[in-house]
C-alpha cells in the first residue's frame, strides 16, 4: 500500500491570478451589491465623494479665513471659519456614516450572497477531491468564511480610486497656488510605490509564515481538545507540545518581523523623499507669499493640503494593502469557482434513474487513480452486479474496496472504463437523481453537530422531522436501546463541543446506519465496513436485516447491495463475493466456489478467520499468518 504522495507543488492549477480577473470579480460584486441594496451601494460612492469635498473645501475655507484675517476683513474671516468648522464636522460625521453603511452593506452581501454561494459550491460539487486533498482543504478553510473579506476588497479598490481622485484634485488645487507645485504629483507617487514594495514583502512573508502558523494552530487545538487531551496526558507529551507551539509561533514572528522591518525601511525612504519635495514646495510658496505674489492663505492652504495629502496617500496605501492581502482569499475563491466550473462541465448527465433495476450494474474495465498518487487505486475491474443481489467486497486494507464503493456512488469518475446501470453509463445519469436512489454508510461516516433525530433524519431530507420514520429507522438498526439511554431521547444534542452528549464509537456507527435506513426505495445500498465497531449481536442483527431487506427488494426495486466487510462470518451469505487485491479484481464467485479455489486469496483469508473461531483457535504467533504473499503493506507502483 502506498502513501498518498503529495505532488510536491501545491497543485498544477495555481497560476497567479491575472489582474483582469480581479476587475471582473469586482464588477460582479458591484452588480450583486447593487441588487442587494441599491441605496447603500450608491452611498459607498456618494459618501467618499462628499468626504473628499469636505477635505478640499476645508482647506480652501482655511485659506479664505487666513487671508481675510490678514486683510482685516471680519465678514470674510467669519464666513471662512464657519466653512472650515462645517467641513471639519462633515468629515467626522461622514466618516461615521461611511463605516456604518459599509459595515451593513458588506455584511449583507457577504452573508446573503457570497458565503452561501461558496458553501453551496463546496457542498454540491459532485466529486470529493476538493475535500480529500489536504492542500485543497487548506484553500477551502481560507475561503469558506471569506465573504466579508472578498466584498471588502471591492470597496477597498473603490477607496483606492477615491484616494487617487482626491490626491489629484488636491494637487490641482496646489497648482493654482503655483504650477511648480504640480511636481508634487511625482513626489506623491514615490511613497505610494515604495509602500507598495514594502507591503509585498510583508505579504510574501505572511505566505511563508503560513506553515509555522498552521502548525502552531494545530498544536494549540490539540492542547485544548479533550479527545486529544487523553492521549497527550497519558504520553506526558504536553510540555513538549507546548514547547513546539511556542517555537512555531516564534518562527512565524521572526519571518514576519523581518518583512515588517524591510517594509518600514521602504516606507521611511518614500516619505523622506516626499517630504524633501514638499519642503522645497513650501519654500517656493513662502517665497512667493513674501514677495507679495501669493498670500499667507496660500501657505495655509498648501500646508493643510499637504497634511490631507499625506492622509490620502496613507488611505490609498491602506486600501491597496487591503486589496493585496485580500488576494489571500480571492485566489482560493477564484480557484474554487474554476474548479467547480471545470467539474460541472466534465460531469454532465441528464438521464433519469430507472424506477427499478432490471439487469443490474456492470463495471466495464473500470480504473481509477487518485490525483497525485503514484499508482492506480483500481485497475481494469470488469464484473456484473446482478439486480437484486447482495455483493460482498473483501480484500486486505488498501486493496481498493472503499474506492470502488465511492465510484458506484458517483463520488469519483473512473479514469478508464465505464459503469453501466441497466446499460446506461453512470455519467449519463443525472447525479442528483442517481444519488437519491442510493443508501450508503461509509467507513468514515459523518457525525453532524446536531440532535440525534436530525443525525438520522438527514438520511431522507424531506422527512427530516418525521419522528415516526426516524424511530422506525432506529428500530431497523437495533438502536432503540441506545436511544432509550440518551438523556433526551431522540432530541439529545450530540455536539460535544456545545455541551451535547458524546456517543461511543459503536453508537455513532449505529446512528450512521439508522441514517442509511431512512431512504425508502434505494436502487443501490452501499455499506462500507458498516459494523467495524459494532458488538457481535448488533452486527448479526444488522446483517440479517440487510439480507432480509435486500431479498424483499427483489420484488420491488430489485436493489443491488454492496457490503465491504472484514468479517467473513457475514460475508459468506452474499450472492457474489469479489476479492480485490492491489486494486485488481482477483476472484469473483459465491462463497462455495471461492473457498474451493486451492491457495486462493479468499480461501486463505477465510481460513485464517475460520481457524481463529474454530474449537482450538489459531493462536497468533511470531510466525505470522501464512498464505500467499504475506507482505500486504506494499503495493508496487
Amino acid at each position: 500500500m502506498t502513501a498518498r504522495r503529495a505532488t510536491g507543488h501545491p497543485a498544477p492549477d495555481t497560476k497567479p491570478v491575472r489582474p483582469y480577473r480581479y476587475l471582473l470579480l469586482w464588477a460582479e460584486l458591484l452588480a450583486v451589491s447593487w441588487r442587494r441594496a441599491p441605496l447603500l451601494t450608491a452611498m459607498q460612492f456618494v459618501i467618499p465623494a462628499a468626504m473628499a469635498t469636505a477635505v478640499i473645501g476645508g482647506a480652501l475655507a482655511l485659506r479664505v479665513t487666513v487671508d481675510a484675517m490678514i486683510r482685516g476683513d471680519a465678514g470674510g474671516a467669519v464666513a471662512g471659519a464657519a466653512g472650515a468648522g462645517l467641513a471639519g464636522t462633515a468629515g467626522i460625521v461622514l466618516g461615521a456614516l461611511d463605516s456604518h453603511t459599509a459595515g451593513i452593506l458588506i455584511g449583507r452581501v457577504a452573508v446573503l450572497d457570497l458565503n452561501p454561494r461558496v458553501h453551496r459550491d463546496i457542498t454540491t460539487l459532485d466529486g470529493l477531491e476538493h475535500l480529500e486533498r489536504s492542500d485543497f482543504q487548506d484553500r477551502l478553510t481560507l475561503v469558506r468564511n471569506a465573504g466579508w473579506e472578498i466584498v471588502l476588497s471591492l470597496w477597498s479598490a473603490n477607496g483606492v480610486l477615491f484616494a487617487v481622485l482626491e490626491l489629484t484634485v488636491m494637487l490641482l488645487l496646489l497648482g493654482t497656488v503655483n504650477p511648480w507645485l504640480l511636481w508634487l504629483l511625482v513626489f506623491a507617487a514615490v511613497p505610494l510605490w515604495f509602500d507598495q514594495r514594502g507591503n509585498s514583502a510583508i505579504i510574501r512573508a505572511d505566505l511563508r509564515a503560513a506553515a509555522p502558523i498552521r502548525r502552531q494552530r494545530h498544536l494549540f487545538d490539540l492542547a485544548t481538545d479533550p479527545a486529544a487531551g487523553k492521549e497527550i496526558r497519558v504520553a506526558g507529551a504536553g510540555a513538549e507540545l507546548a514547547r513546539r507551539q511556542a517555537a512555531a509561533w516564534d518562527e512565524a514572528v521572526r519571518l514576519r518581523l523581518r518583512a515588517q522591518l524591510v517594509a518600514a525601511g521602504w516606507r521611511m525612504a518614500g516619505w523622506l523623499l516626499f517630504t524633501a519635495g514638499f519642503g522645497a514646495a513650501l519654500v517656493l510658496v513662502v517665497h512667493q507669499a513674501a514677495r507679495g505674489a501669493g498670500s499667507a492663505g496660500d501657505l495655509v492652504l498648501a500646508v493643510t493640503v499637504a497634511a490631507a495629502l499625506r492622509q490620502s496617500v496613507y488611505t490609498g496605501v491602506r486600501y491597496t494593502t487591503n486589496v493585496a492581502s485580500a488576494g489571500r482569499v480571492i485566489e482560493p475563491y477564484l480557484w474554487l469557482r474554476d474548479h467547480v466550473r471545470a467539474q460541472r462541465t466534465r460531469v454532465g448527465g441528464s438521464a433519469p434513474s430507472p424506477p427499478r433495476l432490471r439487469h443490474g450494474i456492470t463495471l466495464d474495465r473500470v480504473g481509477y487513480r487518485y490525483p497525485g498518487a503514484t499508482g492506480p487505486a483500481l485497475a481494469d475491474i470488469s464484473v456484473h452486479l446482478p439486480a437484486g443481489s447482495v455483493v460482498a467486497l473483501v480484500g486486505e486494507y488498501g486493496s481498493g474496496k472503499t474506492t470502488l464503493v465511492k465510484l458506484l456512488g458517483k463520488l469519483y469518475q473512473p479514469d478508464t472504463g465505464r459503469i453501466l446501470v441497466d446499460g446506461v453509463p453512470l455519467d449519463e445519469l443525472e447525479t442528483r437523481t442517481w444519488r437519491s436512489r442510493i443508501s450508503a454508510t461509509f467507513q468514515d461516516f459523518g457525525r453532524f453537530p446536531t440532535r440525534f433525530a436530525e443525525n438520522v433524519g438527514v438520511g431522507d431530507l424531506p422527512r427530516l422531522s418525521d419522528r415516526e420514520r426516524i424511530a422506525a429507522a432506529v428500530r431497523e438498526v437495533d438502536a432503540t436501546a441506545l436511544v432509550d439511554r440518551l438523556p433526551d431521547g431522540l432530541d439529545t444534542e450530540l455536539d460535544a463541543a456545545l455541551g451535547g452528549v458524546d456517543l461511543s464509537e459503536g453508537q455513532w456507527q449505529k446512528t450512521a446506519l439508522a441514517r442509511a435506513a431512512m431512504r425508502p426505495e434505494p436502487l443501490l445500498v452501499l455499506l462500507d465496513e458498516p459494523t467495524a465497531s459494532l458488538d457481535a449481536p448488533s452486527e448479526q442483527e444488522i446483517f440479517d436485516r440487510q439480507m432480509e431487506r435486500s431479498r424483499r427488494s427483489a420484488a420491488g426495486t430489485n436493489a443491488v447491495t454492496v457490503i465491504v466487510s472484514h468479517r467473513f462470518s457475514t460475508v459468506t451469505g452474499a450472492d457474489l463475493i469479489l476479492t480485490l487485491h492491489h486494486g485488481r479484481l482477483v476472484e469473483a464467485g459465491s462463497h462455495r466456489e471461492l473457498v474451493a479455489v486451492p491457495g486462493g486469496r479468499y480461501a486463505t483469508l477465510y481460513r485464517i478467520q475460520a481457524e481463529a473461531y474454530a474449537r482450538e483457535g489459531r493462536r497468533p504467533t511470531a510466525a505470522g499468518a501464512g498464505g500467499p504473499e504475506p507482505d500486504v503493506h506494499l503495493r508496487p507502483n
Binding site: 456604518h100 516606507r267 453537530p449 458524546d502 464509537e505 449481536p537
Partner: protein, 618 residues
C-alpha cells in the same frame, strides 16, 4: 470601575511584550500624538512671520526658522509613523504568543479531562483562544497596542488643549466639554453594539461547526449521497444571520443618531472658529491674534477626532472580552502549578523511568468504582471491581456503549471515579500522582491523535516527557511492523504526516493505525509496563490483524496488556477475559471457562463463530 479593570487587564497582557519594547512604543506613540499640535504652532508662527514680513523683501531668511521647524515636524511625523509599525507588530506578536501559550497551558494543566469537556469551559476556551474567526474577535496583543494608541491620543488631546489654552483659553472648555460628551455618547452606542455582537457568539460558533462539516471529507460523502448541500448552506446562513442581522439593525439605528454629532461637534466648532477668526480679523496688523487664530483653526478638529469612537477603541474592547474569558477560564481550570505539584520526583525523567522499570508491571485494582458522565441518566460504571494482574493479557469485552473506553479513561486517571478507587500495587493512583502513574502506561485510544508532524515525532510523542531515543524508535517500528510504511514515505522518518505541510503525505486509516501501534510500542520500549489497546484493528483486514497480534505476542516483553475488541477471535487467546455489562464485570475467566459457563460471552462468541461452524452459508 469596570473600565479600570479592563485597563488593568490590557496592561497586564502588555507585560509579555517586555519593558524596553513597550516603553519605546509608548514613547513613539506619545511623540506621534504631540506632533500635530506642534505642527499647528510652527505653522501659526510661519503665517505670523510672513504676515509681518509683507511687504518687506528679505522674507525668506525671516521665515527660515519656523519653516525648518515645520518641515522637521513633518519628517518626525513620518519617522514615528513608520517606526511604530514594526514595533507594534512585535508587541502584538509577543503578547499573543504568550497569551496562546498560557491558554494552551491552562487547558493542558489539569490531570483529568473532565473540565475540558464542560461546555462552559469549551465556550471559554473558544472565547479566549485569540484566533479570530470573524470581525467581532480581537487578540489581546492587538487590544493592548490599541490601548497604548488610545493613551497616546489622550496625550495628543492634552497637547491640542495646551495650544488652545495658549492662544484662546476659553476655547478649551468650549471645545473639550462637547467633545467629551460626544465621546461618551459614541462609546455608549459602541458598547450597545458590542453587547449585541457578543450575544451572537454562540451562533457564530455553531455556524463554524457546520462549516467544518461542509468541508470535511467524512461528512462530505453523506452530504453528497443524501443531497444535503442546499440544506447545509441554509443552515450555515441561518446561524450567520442570527449573529449578524442584529448588528446590522443596530448600525442602521445608529446612523440617524450620528446626525446628533452635527450639533455636538458642529456648533462648538463653528462657533469657536468664527469667534476666533473674527478676533483675528479685528486685530491690528502684525499682532499675535492671527497667529493664535491660525493655531486654533488648525488644531481644533483634532480634539473631536481623538475623543470620538475609533477603531482602536473597538479593538481594545473586543480584546478585553478575550482577556476576561481567560481570567474566567483560569478560575475554572486547575492551575498549571497544581498539576505539577501532584508530580512526585520518582517517575519523571529518565531515571524515574528506570526506577519504574525495576518495579515491574503493576497489579491494578478497580475497587467499587462508579462513574457517570455529567447530565447522563445513569452511571456508566456501577461499583465495578476488576483486577489487572502483572504481565497478563486481559481482554475486556462488552456491548457498544457498555463503558469499555470509559473504563480505560478511569484507568489512566483521566476522570476521577465518583465512588471507589483505582489502585496500583495497593496505592490509589490519585496518590501516586498522574505523571508518575501515566509514565507506566501506553494506550492506543479508539480516537487516537494524528499529529501533523514528521513520522518520527508521531512515534516518539508516545513518550513525550523523555528525550527521543533513536534505538527505541527503530525497535518500536519493527515491533509494530511499520517499516514497509516507512519505506514508502518520501523522506522516511522525516516525512510530515499531513499534506498541508510542505513535503507531507496523507496516510490512510490503516496506515495511521500502524503508526499509532508503533507509538504505543515505543512507549513500552521506554518503560511503560501496561499497554492498553482500544479496538486497535477495527479497520484492518484479518491478515494484518493477525500479524499485529502475532507481533504483540512476541514483543510485549513483560508488559501487561489490556485489549478491547469486538472481534472475539482475537480476544479468545487472552489469558483472561472479562465481560463488562450494566456497569459491572459480570463474567471473568479464560475463553474455555467462559464458553463452558454458557453465559453472555459464550453467546457473543457463538454468534460470530456460528457461520464458520456451519461451514459457510447460513
Amino acid at each position: 470601575m469596570a473600565i479600570l479593570g479592563d485597563v488593568r487587564l490590557l496592561a497586564v497582557a502588555l507585560r509579555a511584550a517586555r519593558a524596553p519594547l513597550t516603553v519605546a512604543l509608548a514613547l513613539l506613540l506619545v511623540l506621534g500624538a504631540l506632533l500635530p499640535p506642534a505642527g499647528a504652532v510652527a505653522m501659526a508662527h510661519l503665517v505670523g512671520r510672513i504676515q509681518s514680513a509683507v511687504p518687506a523683501d528679505a522674507a525668506l531668511s525671516a521665515v527660515a526658522l519656523p519653516l525648518l521647524v515645520f518641515v522637521l515636524v513633518l519628517v518626525l511625523g513620518h519617522v514615528v509613523d513608520t517606526a511604530v509599525a514594526p514595533l507594534a507588530f512585535l508587541a502584538t506578536a509577543r503578547v499573543d504568543g504568550a497569551h496562546r501559550a498560557r491558554v494552551a497551558g491552562l487547558a493542558a494543566a489539569g490531570s483529568t479531562i473532565a473540565p475540558l469537556e464542560d461546555p462552559q469551559v469549551r465556550a471559554l476556551i473558544r472565547a479566549a483562544r485569540a484566533d479570530p474567526e470573524n470581525w467581532t474577535e480581537q487578540t489581546p496583543g492587538a487590544g493592548a497596542v490599541a490601548g497604548l494608541r488610545l493613551a497616546g491620543n489622550l496625550v495628543g488631546v492634552a497637547g491640542g488643549c495646551l495650544v488652545l489654552a495658549r492662544y484662546a483659553g476659553w476655547l478649551v472648555p468650549a471645545l473639550l466639554l462637547p467633545a467629551l460628551l460626544n465621546g461618551v455618547l459614541r462609546q455608549r452606542d459602541a458598547a450597545r453594539g458590542i453587547a449585541v455582537w457578543r450575544a451572537g457568539t454562540l451562533d457564530g460558533a455553531r455556524g463554524q461547526r457546520w462549516q467544518d462539516v461542509a468541508t470535511s471529507p467524512a461528512e462530505g460523502k453523506d452530504i453528497r449521497i443524501y443531497g444535503l448541500g442546499a440544506w447545509l448552506t441554509a443552515r450555515i446562513q441561518r446561524h450567520a444571520l442570527a449573529m449578524e442581522a442584529p448588528v446590522w439593525a443596530l448600525l442602521a439605528r445608529t446612523i440617524p443618531r450620528e446626525a446628533g454629532q452635527l450639533l455636538l461637534v458642529g456648533v462648538p466648532l463653528v462657533a469657536g472658529y468664527t469667534v476666533v477668526a473674527a478676533g483675528g480679523a479685528g486685530a491690528p496688523v502684525g499682532s499675535d491674534r492671527v497667529v493664535a487664530a491660525t493655531a486654533v483653526l488648525v488644531s481644533g478638529v483634532a480634539v473631536f477626532q481623538a475623543l470620538g469612537w475609533t477603531e482602536d477603541l473597538r479593538v481594545a474592547v473586543a480584546a478585553v472580552g478575550c482577556l476576561r474569558a481567560t481570567v474566567d477560564l483560569a478560575s475554572r481550570l486547575p492551575t498549571p502549578d497544581q498539576g505539577g505539584a501532584s508530580r512526585p520526583a520518582a517517575g519523571t525523567g529518565p531515571d524515574g523511568a528506570a526506577r519504574v522499570r525495576r518495579v515491574g508491571p503493576p497489579l491494578v485494582r478497580f475497587e467499587g468504582v462508579s462513574f457517570g458522565y455529567p447530565g447522563a441518566r445513569r452511571p456508566v460504571l456501577d461499583r465495578l471491581d476488576l483486577e489487572i494482574r502483572p504481565g497478563e493479557l486481559l481482554a475486556v469485552v462488552g456491548l457498544n456503549g457498555a463503558g469499555k473506553s470509559t473504563l480505560i479513561k478511569l484507568l489512566a486517571g483521566l476522570y476521577e471515579p465518583d465512588e471507589g478507587r483505582v489502585t496500583a500495587d495497593g496505592v490509589d493512583i490519585a496518590v501516586l500522582g498522574a505523571a508518575a502513574w501515566r509514565s507506566r502506561l501506553a494506550i492506543v485510544f479508539q480516537d487516537f491523535v494524528r499529529y501533523h508532524l514528521p513520522a518520527r515525532d508521531n512515534v516518539v510523542l508516545g513518550r513525550g516527557d523523555h528525550p527521543p531515543d533513536p534505538v527505541a524508535l527503530d525497535a518500536a517500528a519493527a515491533d509494530a511492523g511499520l517499516e514497509p510504511v516507512l519505506a514508502r514515505l518520501p523522506a522516511g522518518w522525516d516525512t510530515p504526516l499531513a499534506r498541508t505541510v510542505a513535503g507531507g503525505v496523507d496516510l490512510s486509516g490503516g496506515q495511521w493505525q500502524q503508526v499509532v501501534l508503533a507509538r504505543a510500542h515505543y512507549a513500552v520500549r521506554m518503560g511503560a509496563e501496561l499497554l492498553v489497546l482500544d479496538e486497535p484493528t477495527a479497520h484492518l483486514d484479518v491478515r494484518t490483524e493477525f500479524e499485529v497480534f502475532s507481533r504483540l505476542a512476541g514483543n510485549r516483553g513483560g508488559a501487561s496488556v489490556v485489549l478491547i475488541s469486538h472481534r472475539l477471535s482475537t480476544v479468545r487467546h487472552a489469558d483472561r477475559i472479562v465481560l463488562l455489562d450494566g456497569g459491572r464485570i459480570t463474567e471473568n475467566g479464560d475463553h474455555d471457562e467462559l464458553v463452558a459457563r454458557r453465559g453472555r460471552y459464550a453467546e457473543l462468541f457463538a454468534i460470530q463463530a456460528r457461520r464458520f461452524a456451519t461451514g459457510g452459508r447460513g
